[in-house]
Amino acid sequence: MSKARAMQQKTTSGLLEVNGLTVQVATPAGARTVVDDLSFTLEGGKTLCIAGESGSGKSMTALSLMQLLPKPMARVSAGTAKLDGRDILALPEAEMRQVRGRHIGMIFQEPMTSLNPVLTIGKQLGGAISAHGGMRGGLSDAAIRARALELLDQVQIPEPARRLKQFPHELSGGMRQRVVIAMALAQSPQILIADEPTTALDVTVQAQILALIRKLQADLGISVIMITHDMGVVAEMADDVLVMQHGRMVEHSPASVIFSKPRHPYTQELLAAVPRLGEMTGTSAPKRMSDDATASVQTPAPAEPLVAVKDLTVRFDIKGGILQRPVQRVHAVEGVSFDIMPGETLSLVGESGCGKSTTGKALLNLIPWQGDIRVAGRETRGLGASAMRPVLRDVQMIFQDPYASLDPRMRVGDLVAEPLHIHGLASGSELDDRVAYLFRRVGLSADQMRRYPHEFSGGQRQRICIARALSLSPKLIVADESVAALDVSIQAQVLDLLQDIQNETGMSYLFISHDMAVVEQISHRVAVMYMGRFVEMGSRAQIFENPQHDYTKKLMAAVPVADPSRPRRAFMERAEDLPSPVHELDYTPPLQAARDIGGGHMVWEAAGR
């Protein structure tokens, strides 16, 4: 431990000079340059954000600095990276191991995959602490344990002593990411490279982790290279910003300059595509709603709601013991009621595990549920697969990950035709015409029909999924985090497409999202979910301009704002986690009373709150 301290004393000036870094990847068509002549300087104690969309080469840059490029596919073909005057790109593997962890620590995007699921937190932290300097790094068990506790305390994990004995799966996503940060800090590095460290986390947790990184940076005097696609995160964190596109640096300026006077057109485009919370204040219709469509929706209350959900409850049993009896129960959705009108977008917003996706799946009978759901006048409770089929012509779904939801072995034309086949709605040339029309409708060309999903980009794949959902001409589409996996500029295009379809056909959407800014753009009405229940529901304006429930307010405060001049959030003491939705079998959820505070703005509050 004292050794580690000494290290830290010696090297508080962390300075990295990257010059002409070029990375090439071998492809069947020959070498392709993925990072092209990149140069930057990282000052001690500063944060450099590398921003860009997927495929811009930002992760490759980070991996090449750590000499962790996937060999022999990718290699550094030119350039130097001088750390304290030493070129770390030229170091042999044995010496590079001394640099990793000691001089440069790294945090990856997905905390679950960067932790070993079969080792306790204590073992993994211990490994990181004693990684260098031979057997156990010359440290005693007690010293390792003390350092581990100190690190967990530094990253603000409550009850550190207990955590040492836990396994990664027992911790929440935010806690895991804290452990990963603790491991990266174990050898007191001068530089911390964080590759999309908060992308997989909920907004409130993201806010905590970002604040934590800022605090650690201030306390320990380390420099941070932060790789992100989120301009909001850039604004929260950066001293300097480096914007990358197709492997090239397009702009490199102080954060204040990037946001106020972006010079390069790509930077301007990137900033323009970012949905900003509060951008829509004072309007009631979604962003691209055309005037006549607005009029048709606003016409005095349509008689019949398209979807009426009453007291929807979804509980999953957790089985255990020798007899596989239910021992505990997950209360995923707990007595939720809502209506969706024709032509309306209702958004369900909340953090992971709040039951929003489960609610969407219940509408299509993909999971067992209790309560009442009526779709276009039909009861769907207890319908089997074949009885449900006519209902599914009215309700379709778009999933979060377009690649995962397309069968990789089928041609995309066949995939879009699949619902028409299943429902026996078209065949022969009529089918081909219909599919070609759908492709054009979502902005793809009809001659792409014979290709396979892996030949398309993420945004195109999501368009294919939309075309497939549209093929049955449904009245409602459940969009489950449908733009979450896309780059911001693509995200904006897909959102526009969804709204255009709505303007044209009077489609209704149940839009499920964790992203408050996106929800603000697309919704007529918003319902905020927390722990399987609605806490607040109302029109877009009511929720965003006059949030009443504490949780809604907290959610909105946590959204990173793409404005570096805004005062950065103060560090929050002690992390807090979402409570667990797992309860004993005899648990009866407390009653919550809805309060209408005017104009259909509902707020639910627990009796004892």
């Binding site: 069947p28 979060q400 939801s405 069968d407 041609r411 892996h454």
Partner: protein, 296 residues
């Protein structure tokens, strides 16, 4: 048999698959070997230089030892002076029926059990997989002996017995894979579109299992041919003097040091056949998987 199924599909659906198969040198080699063995089996009476059952006086040395390969007996003779080459050609019939038909039935049963148990879960899962576990725990040879003893031994009974004991591994493997595929989003998406179980199983899950099934099917050819030999050796398989590649090895294995060709040559034939199916299977797997295109 999955091989033959895949090949017939090849002709019906997209003729270009066969053309693509022929373009790959390894697959072509495999196809040629398979074709040679099939032709030998079908035209055995015309191709074989001698009667496989005739014990030649000149087929043994003065001391009564078998003859090594020579111009007269190409692959030498066996312990009683029969021509090994002729016996191999006739033996191809037996081995092909065992390796392709018996193994093919095992693959079909195993896949059907594994996929249904993996997709439907619930009680179907419990019943089918516990039965599979039971079959797995039961000594395969013992079961085969019992079954073969109940029915009078004949080639087709042997084939059935082998199919009955060999499907369990495939069931186990396809079960595990089906379970993970059934959780994937595209299967959920398919359910969301209203697709029935048959469509999901055959059009969306089965194609993803093809590579696993092909690997197990080709591995199975070698093991079933040898299992047939074991059964023949124990007297409950193909009855002597009818030749099969397996029982030729077993008849002669004790003389391995003095007459190595009697074991080596039929062993090489089994190896070549299994390898040939493996090469074709591998190539088919790549050709049928669109995501692998342009990577070979």
């Amino acid at each position: 048999m999955s091989q033959t199924v895949a090949e017939t599909e090849t002709h019906v659906a997209t003729p270009s698959v066969l053309a693509r198969l022929l373009r790959r040198p390894l697959a072509l080699t495999g196809l040629v070997i398979i074709a040679v063995v099939v032709l030998a089996a079908v035209f055995a009476p015309w191709l074989a230089p001698y009667d496989p059952y005739e014990q030649f006086f000149e087929g043994l040395t003065i001391e009564g030892a078998p003859l090594p390969p020579s111009a007269q007996f190409w692959f030498g003779t066996d312990l009683v002076g029969r021509d090994l080459f002729s016996r191999l050609i006739y033996g191809a019939q037996t081995s092909l029926i065992i390796g392709v038909v018996a193994n093919g039935i095992a693959v079909v049963i195993g896949s059907a059990v594994g996929i249904s148990a993996g997709y439907f879960r619930g009680w179907a899962d419990t019943v089918l997989m516990r039965f599979t576990d039971l079959m797995m725990a039961f000594p395969a040879l013992l079961l085969a002996i019992v079954l073969a003893a109940i029915f009078s031994p004949s080639l087709w009974i042997v084939a059935m017995v082998i199919a009955m004991v060999n499907w369990v591994q495939i069931a186990r493997v396809t079960y595990t894979e089906t379970r993970s595929i059934a959780e994937r989003d595209f299967v959920v998406a398919e359910r969301a579109m209203g697709a029935g179980a048959g469509r999901i199983l055959f059009r969306h899950i089965l194609p993803h299992l093809l590579s696993t099934i092909i690997v197990w099917a080709t591995l199975g050819i070698a093991t079933t041919v040898l299992l047939e030999a074991t059964l023949s050796f124990l007297g409950i398989g193909v009855q002597p003097p009818i030749p099969s590649w397996g029982n030729i090895i077993f008849e002669n294995q004790t003389y391995f040091t003095s007459a190595p060709w009697l074991v080596f040559i039929p062993g090489a034939a089994i190896l070549a056949l299994a390898l040939a199916f493996n090469l074709v299977g591998d190539a088919l797997r790549d050709i049928l998987d669109p995501t692998q295109q342009g990577r070979h």
